[in-house]
């Protein structure tokens, strides 16, 4: 266990340094933030002075070494646009993103698992095919389109739900549905496919012959067996999920790190971008670590190997 944690920690450090380095050079080739900060009224002297105050007049190597040094102390400097330390800005917005991601993910799992099982066991019925058609639809429509559709129906026409922000408890409903839709559809289809495969296995026939109920076979045995490949997929999807959250946050004006990152890209706010990407990278690596630990819990074979 300690070895796994240690290797994941090492992986985290390497990933963060790798992503940080890539980001450092990418944002710097994208242009000069002094221009974005100075605005259209500024003089050339203003722009030069801003570059100097931001340390952008130093050589790229000097800037990179200083960036690595700051990375070690988690000090990303002050946001160029907000004039506040970048990391606290990200940390202030992070709970909103985590809240949205968590609710959306939970929603995807809670709906996809029964829907997938239903579609597998009722595969030849109309309702089973309908579930598959709906999931195909969910997978085909981008989250922002689903978001706009939800706003139109539930905010504009019915006026049941707030269309933007995170003020009331109800604010979470539409963004989380929009964000989870693709994942929900994908997992429904995958769970159905895995489930169908497992239904033909020997242990299922044995269970049936022993008189186990369907519910016991499905939920206690099949579901546990398909959890391992599903967990692998979830681990891969987590990164994409955060990317989707950025778009959904923009549609619903959700005050998470997605909105901050979009503004940071527009303004070439290097410190904010670096802090944001760092936070996302850490988040994804940690979630993958949790997935790895769940493997141990679910699959006794892996547990035995580790022990």
């Amino acid at each position: 266990m300690i070895r796994i944690l240690g290797s994941r920690l090492l992986q985290l450090i390497l990933v963060v340094i790798g992503i940080g380095t890539l980001l450092f050079f990418l944002v710097r080739v994208s242009g000069d933030p002094a221009l974005a900060i100075a605005g259209s009224d500024a003089t050339a002297e203003n722009i030069a002075s801003i570059r100097q105050s931001l340390g952008l007049d130093r050589s790229i190597l000097e800037q990179y070494l200083s960036f690595l040094q700051n990375l070690c102390t988690l000090n990303f400097g002050e946001s160029y646009t907000y004039l506040l330390p970048a990391m606290p800005l990200i940390l202030a917005a992070l709970p909103n993103t985590l809240y949205l991601s968590f609710v959306a993910f939970l929603l995807a799992i809670v709906i996809a698992v029964p829907a997938g099982i239903y579609a597998a066991v009722k595969r030849n019925s109309f309702s089973g095919k309908a579930v598959m058609s709906i999931s195909m639809l969910g997978q085909s429509i981008p989250p922002f389109v689903i978001g706009i559709f939800l706003i139109l129906v539930f905010s504009v026409w019915l006026r049941w739900l707030p269309s933007f922000g995170n003020e009331a408890g109800l604010s979470i409903i539409m963004p989380s549905v929009a964000l989870s839709a693709v994942l929900m559809a994908r997992y429904t289809r995958l769970i159905r496919a895995y489930f169908l495969e497992e239904l033909n296995r020997g242990y299922v026939r044995t269970g049936k012959s022993l008189g186990f109920t369907n519910a016991r076979i499905w939920f206690k045995h099949i579901l546990r067996n398909i959890s391992v490949p599903m967990l692998s997929l979830i681990g891969i999807d987590l990164g994409k999920f955060v990317g989707g959250a950025v778009i959904v946050e923009a549609v619903f004006a959700w005050p998470g790190i997605g909105s901050l990152m979009i503004n940071a890209v527009k303004a070439r706010d290097y410190p904010l971008l670096e802090a944001g990407v760092f936070a996302i990278a850490v988040m994804v690596v940690l979630l993958n670590l949790i997935v790895d630990l769940l493997y141990l819990y679910i699959d006794p074979r892996i547990r035995a190997k580790v022990n």
Binding site: G31, G39, L83, I151, V156, P162, V251
Partner: protein, 569 residues
């Protein structure tokens, strides 16, 4: 409110709305721009319809009474307008007062702080009104010295007095290059600021600058001791000022709440609270209005207008004080011949850009850099008409062979209203010229686009470069026309004309109201049209929408919503 009063207000509203449609040409000349102002009183005579004056906390508007006389009339009761929520595409990341002067920062700056003067654009023409200064005038025999008399007996929320010292400290801060104030470019001509008395300040410029009182409307006066103690960065986090509102909460990128400021210098606003909610996505912002989440929205996309109208929302459209132009690379190649540049101007159907892309909103730009109504506009210099035959003749006369030109058109994306669509349409129009083989549209992400504009990146300026030439906040032709003088840092299109430079420099030293200035600006405008280093496009529309329960939802010619007057019925 009694029925009689409601009728009266309704009448006033209808009257004012109908007046708004008519631009009062020449109103600027009648305005108190450089002389001591008289204090407006209810029932007292006024000169320019629709102009608002703020006196002892009340907002007065110049309206016609039953006798047909123009008199100051009470516009609204302060504090009766309730809470207004505005859905906005973007807000500044800080509440900094000295960063820039264009919307959306100008909404915030004008709400929280006070400059020496205030520019009233209710008539469509800039009219200077008092703000921190009660009056101002040039010193006798010294056109390079302006004397401002500061309002007496007013203080900042922390108890510091509003006086000449505060004015000097604020201007000194902006002028100091170490402070990197974005607005420093506006005050480069100031050479000396003297505190003549507690309530009088003298400002000297390097040459006579008649626009100075107008320019100073954009430079807020701050409490000097607090600002010095806290430092700029801390002060901008919880700023205080003497504007009509105070910022009570601000979450960058999310929300700004303004509440009526008891320390407002001149007026108690109608609304008690104004909440700006940042909703960057256009469709989400429109949905927020339709769902009742917000009362007003900015930047309505043209394709949403009919939907909002049919849902019974009020649409307010103004022509921005900005011109969509394309700088033509005159340095070398075919475009160094002015006949080719003129041909390009004839080949573009500007009205089609308005009708086909901007929903019929906006205005064809005359061959000038400002819209009609602003000072320095020249009636005699008109737009190039759409005339493809004449354009082809000019190209032939310039000796450009058929299908020989392959051009590149650099455009921003989502910076100017419908910028990419307009770039594509214009490139197709230019491709109709016999001599043009192709016009490739190069869409630049905003930061790259700025690099090209400032000539700092790896991408050079190409044949056509689209730009939004904003006249805000000066609302005068001169500032924009100076950009085409020889050696102006960001022009770099190879254009230079000595006669143009002479005319512009002469105009800069003349009184805004003088006919000599107008005549020099007209001469310069005619030269610019003849040389055509620009392909003139249109004045873009700025569209707002609000619900019908609002009163006095107005957007001025500078693109600023009237936050002081807006309220709920």
């Amino acid at each position: 409110m009694t029925r009689h009063m409601k009728m009266k207000n309704k009448f006033l509203g209808v009257f004012l709305s109908s007046c708004l449609a008519v631009s009062v040409v020449g109103a600027f000349n009648a305005a108190p721009s450089s002389a001591a102002t008289t204090v407006a009183t209810v029932g007292g005579k006024c000169t320019t319809l629709l102009v608002q004056d703020y006196v002892n906390g009340n907002a007065l508007v110049c309206a016609t009474n039953s006798n047909g006389t123009k008199v100051w009339t009470k516009y609204f009761t302060g504090g009766a307008g309730g809470t207004i929520t505005i859905g906005i595409g973007a807000l500044p990341a800080t509440l900094e007062a000295y960063a820039a002067s264009a919307p959306p920062r100008s909404y915030v700056v004008a709400a929280i702080y006070s400059g020496l003067t205030r520019v009233d654009l209710s008539t469509g023409t800039p009219i200077l009104m008092p703000n921190a200064a009660d009056s101002w005038a040039q010193e006798k025999g010294r056109p390079d010295v302006w004397v401002f008399n500061i309002i007496k007996g007013k203080e900042f929320p922390n108890g510091e007095p509003m006086n000449a010292d505060a004015v000097k400290a604020s201007l000194d801060y902006v002028m100091n290059p170490k402070n990197n104030a974005g607005l420093r470019a506006k005050v480069l001509d100031i050479t000396k600021i003297e505190v003549a008395s507690e309530y009088q300040v003298k400002i000297t410029t390097s040459a006579p600058r008649y626009l100075l009182p107008r320019t100073l409307s954009t430079i807020p006066i701050l409490p000097p001791k607090l600002f010095a103690e806290q430092g700029a960065v801390t002060f901008w986090k919880t700023p205080i000022g003497t504007g009509p509102f105070k910022a009570t909460s601000f979450t960058p990128g999310v929300q700004l709440t303004l509440e009526a400021n008891p320390y407002s210098l001149r007026v108690k606003p109608s609304a008690t609270k104004i909440i700006f909610k940042v909703i960057p996505e256009d469709s989400s912002r429109m949905a927020a209005l339709r769902s009742g989440g917000v009362d007003v929205v900015t930047k309505v996309p043209t394709d949403s207008i009919s939907i909002l109208k049919s849902a019974n929302f009020d649409i307010k459209s103004i022509v921005e004080p900005a011109t969509y132009i394309m700088s033509l690379m005159a340095k070398s190649g075919a475009l160094s011949d002015k006949r080719v540049r003129q041909a390009f101007n004839y080949a573009v159907d500007k009205q089609a850009l308005i009708d086909g892309i901007n929903g019929g909103l906006g205005q064809v730009a005359e061959a000038q850099l400002i819209p009609k109504g602003l000072t320095g506009f020249c009636n005699s210099v008109t737009a190039f008409p759409y005339d493809l035959a004449k354009a082809n003749d000019l190209m032939k006369a310039a000796g450009i062979p058929k299908k020989s030109l392959n051009l590149t058109f650099q455009s921003s994306t989502a910076y100017i209203t419908n910028d990419v669509l307009m770039a594509q349409a214009i490139s197709q129009m230019l491709e109709k010229l016999d001599a043009v083989n192709s016009v490739k549209v190069e869409v630049l992400e905003f930061s790259k686009y700025l690099d090209v504009y400032y000539l700092r990146g790896a991408i050079p300026r190409k044949d056509l470069f689209a730009w939004r030439m904003s006249s805000s906040p000066d609302l005068d032709a001169l500032v924009q026309m100076e950009r085409y003088t020889t050696g102006y840092p960001t022009s770099n299109i190879g254009y230079s004309n000595r006669n143009y430079d002479v005319a512009i420099n002469a105009a800069a030293a003349l009184d805004v109201k003088s006919t000599a200035r107008t005549s020099r600006l007209c001469k310069a405008a005619a030269i610019l049209k003849e040389d055509a280093p620009i392909l003139w496009g249109i004045h873009t529309p700025d569209i707002w929408a609000g619900n019908k329960a609002l009163e006095r939802l107005t957007v001025d010619a500078g693109g600023n919503i009237d936050l002081v007057s807006i309220g709920n019925k």
